[in-house]
Symmetry: C2
Subunit: 156 residues, 2 copies
């Protein structure tokens, strides 16, 4: 399925919900497809869209992403302390490990969490929904760099 077809399919769902297929929305979906591998932020999406459609405002991107999320087409993830990033919902069978030092994101499969989830559900009556969040820590590279001693400045 090529990009144009995917865009049409998604806009069909938007329209089925009473929404409209506008140029800005087409461009936003195009960007989401083109950059699906980089966890784009709203800012990233906006500036990319603005290359071809300079008039598109950031608030439009926020609003449309909210709507896409309501429709179950995208999901947001908070990686560390920066801005929220967005995913297609179908891409979210993984979770994110974010290095507090270098910011690098490692993806791990969902099943890694299975036994923890079961245990927490059983013992604490709490259903973990990890998709929108992140595990912080340190990747090996950073751990080797200044490992002996204190872990220094972890950021807020």
């Amino acid at each position: 399925m090529d990009a144009a077809t995917r865009i049409d399919a998604m806009l069909a769902r938007v329209r089925a919900d009473g929404g409209r297929a506008t140029t800005a929305r087409r461009a936003i979906l195009q960007t989401l497809i083109d950059h699906h591998d980089v966890h784009p932020t709203v800012e990233h999406i906006t500036t990319t869209v603005q290359a071809n459609h300079p008039e598109v405002a950031e608030s439009t991107v926020y609003r449309f992403l909210d709507e896409l999320e309501r429709l179950g087409i995208v999901e947001h993830v908070r990686l560390g302390h920066g801005p929220t990033v967005y995913h297609f919902a179908e891409d979210t069978n993984h979770h994110h490990l974010v290095c507090s030092t270098c910011g690098r994101v490692t993806e791990v499969p969902q099943r890694i969490f299975d036994s923890l989830s079961k245990r927490v559900l059983r013992d604490y009556a709490f259903e973990i929904e990890a998709r929108h969040f992140t595990l912080a820590g340190r990747c090996q590279t950073c751990d080797e760099q200044d490992s002996p001693g204190v872990h220094g400045h972890s950021h807020r």
Copy 2:
């Protein structure tokens, strides 16, 4: 060890680092001790301090908490999307489950993460450092309330 003694001990560490023991700092530490069970935010700390010391500014609280964190005396935790909360470092042998729906915080012991941490370290060369973060999900109460069907509005 009573509060005054604890405050003096902590200020001694501040001074050993070249810092000074001021009235504002004493009041902040007092508040931290008095409210250690409620995960206070900067705003919470500031308004509490201001009851006795109305002139103390929020920025002072931010700055001193940063310093206490550098010294390893407190740690911050981000619970969900709201403001950061602070802990004494000695109190942080637990993690937080935050309900996306009602915001209720459940504490779980650190050891729950042990096998996940080991596995991630082995397979992904990533050392999880969960203290500053949180697992999102839904507590039983909320799950029962509107469980059949979609999980509705998870918040950003």
